[in-house]
Symmetry: C2
Subunit: 361 residues, 2 copies
């Protein structure tokens, strides 16, 4: 992760995984979600925080979720309906359930179909915030499968290349594959230059954002380093940034996430569906294409090559997607998760307000 998003050391409070997990599960239970499902929801957030992806962990999300369960926009008891189903596909109506409440279940169905037939995909409409997509592709990786996930996240943030009006959300896409001895490849990115939650982090941390990350309201890219403006006073650029720098590629992938998640699920394009998020998860059973051991050995060859690449001047090391997160998880499991002190204060006051009987650190 870029230094722009790291909590400065002086503001860090280390909290053990165990304590953070118990506190998070208690919150979901308090929202009315049954204990086993609350544990699954907490696992998605904790996995984010352990991987160093705190943009999608407790810090930003938990209080937003509490507010949304509170005002009735999230349904703690979604009655998920199967709209269509085939041997390898399914379409669900998520009944306003939180994405990370339904996501693990959807990926499990995709995996089940892939186990039997080679591939499986589930498109889910009428759902809410999805959390860190890496979580779902990691479910597939654990079953020796390739995982893929996409989200259509409304239409109010991201402008098309050279456009002044937004048409998409941040539209994340994730893809992952297992290896043998090497940590797995786990790729998870916003199709904007930067995830909205990471912009929120820079504000908490007080760091500037890079030229070409966002645009003015008229669509013109802001080409200086600036403090994050107030939400609502800027647009997000597709990854790549300007057209010359390949912004049309980010824009294209954003549209793909809208098509695969929003339109294919029946949720409709994000700019119409708005806060009715939709998602698409898929599993490819490696064994259907090739001997799984051969695949994993070749993955090791690729990932070893990448991790041992001679770095360019000014850099210590070359990474691949999933490697730094794997290393960070080992550190955080051992030392605790470095939350911002403001987050810990919030947790403790919320815990006493909701009578959770939990405290950090």
């Amino acid at each position: 992760m870029l230094k722009h998003f790291l909590v400065p050391e002086k503001d860090q409070v280390l909290v053990s995984e165990e304590k953070a997990r118990a506190g998070t599960q208690a919150v979901f239970e308090k929202m009315g979600i049954p204990a086993d499902e609350a544990a699954s929801c907490a696992d998605v957030l904790l996995t984010s925080d352990l991987r160093g992806c705190e943009s999608h962990g407790i810090s930003n999300m938990l209080r937003a979720y509490i507010a949304s369960y509170g005002d009735g926009s999230y349904n703690a008891h979604p009655d998920v309906k199967t709209v269509r189903e085939s041997s390898v596909t399914a379409t669900w109506d998520g009944d306003r359930g939180l994405g990370l409440h339904l996501g693990p279940r959807a990926m499990n169905l995709a995996i089940e179909k892939a186990k039997e037939h080679g591939m499986g995909a589930v498109a889910v409409k009428n759902t809410r915030h999805f959390g860190m997509l890496a979580y779902y592709v990691m479910q597939a990786i654990e079953q020796d499968m390739i995982g893929m996930a996409m989200v259509s996240a409304g239409g109010g943030a991201q402008v098309p290349t050279n456009g002044a009006e937004p048409a998409f959300g941040t539209q994340p896409i994730a893809w992952g594959a297992p290896a043998d001895k090497m940590p797995p490849f786990v790729f998870d990115v916003a199709t904007t230059q930067v995830a909205a939650n990471k912009l929120a982090l820079t504000r908490r941390i007080g760091s500037k954002i890079e030229p070409g990350w966002i645009a003015n309201l008229d669509g013109s890219p802001i080409m200086e380093a600036v403090d994050v403006p107030e939400f609502g006073s800027f647009r997000m650029l597709p990854f790549g940034g300007t057209r010359e720098n390949g912004g049309h590629k980010g824009y294209g992938f954003a549209a793909i996430a809208d098509i695969m998640s929003g339109i294919l699920s029946g949720n409709g394009p994000g700019f119409i569906a708005e806060k009715d998020y939709s998602f698409f998860v898929m599993a490819f059973n490696v064994e259907a294409f090739i001997d799984t051991n051969e695949f994993k050995t070749d993955m090791d060859k690729l990932l070893t090559k990448l991790a041992n690449t001679t770095p360019a001047p000014g850099h210590d090391r070359v990474y691949y997607a999933g490697l730094p997160e794997h290393e960070e998880t080992e550190i955080r499991r051992r030392d605790g998760i470095p939350y911002h002190k403001e987050v810990v204060d919030w947790f403790n006051s919320m815990s006493s307000e909701l009578d959770l009987g939990m405290s950090m650190p």
Copy 2:
């Protein structure tokens, strides 16, 4: 397409689709490919030229293909073997056949499987240059399906983010979906900042390339506008360019293309397989997930919204992937394809050398 890649008007020679198609098919037949398959190969190249994607049309590719059939590295009579097959997947050994010779057949099998079961995917190892990926996703679109295609194209061009040694080729990815009244969404990009063939075009045209498109041999990005250096004296950067500008996203998608095409097919990672290209094509049957008419109506809503977006200052219009290519096809079908005069000269001398009895314009 950026102006960097357009043939200057003074160098253009307009050639009718009919004449270019007949000439191209005659070349493939001369290489020993049966007439119907030669017509299919020619259709891939001509579709590129009609869409304004001349980087992947006759100008760069046909003479390269002739050389490779001539020196025996391409097999004009590939004996394609099915390595594995399930109801929705297949893995083929392409027996050194040209990618665009086998690609249409592979996508047809994916479509057939998707028709019956909802999805279909075919991974092909031991093949050669694939041409314009948009072609294959357009095959799926014609059947009211979503199409996807990826290629692993060796390991000698693209550096990982912050790396000095190349690990990938240009690793293109394409995705497309049908609409009702609007031209379909057809997205096809290199995961490098720019396709290798487009760099060749800038040399023919004499235009400079943009800052952050390529790197020095030590991996440091070249941050000025420069003439394209000699091939072999630079590295290609993943799309996004530098890490701060999101280059790790292009790098991740390049790895995905290597995994889905190279490793899943059994071809191995591109940096080992080198000129043994591999590809992956997939079809998603819309009807398996949702009523096809509802899908296409929603696609129209999205594409209409995008095409009618108020442009940012300094821009006339907002496009979506596939729209300018659709418009260009109509113009070129009517007026002819504007080849560079040097390409026409080459065609005519090659034609007389190979005794094709064809001439342009």
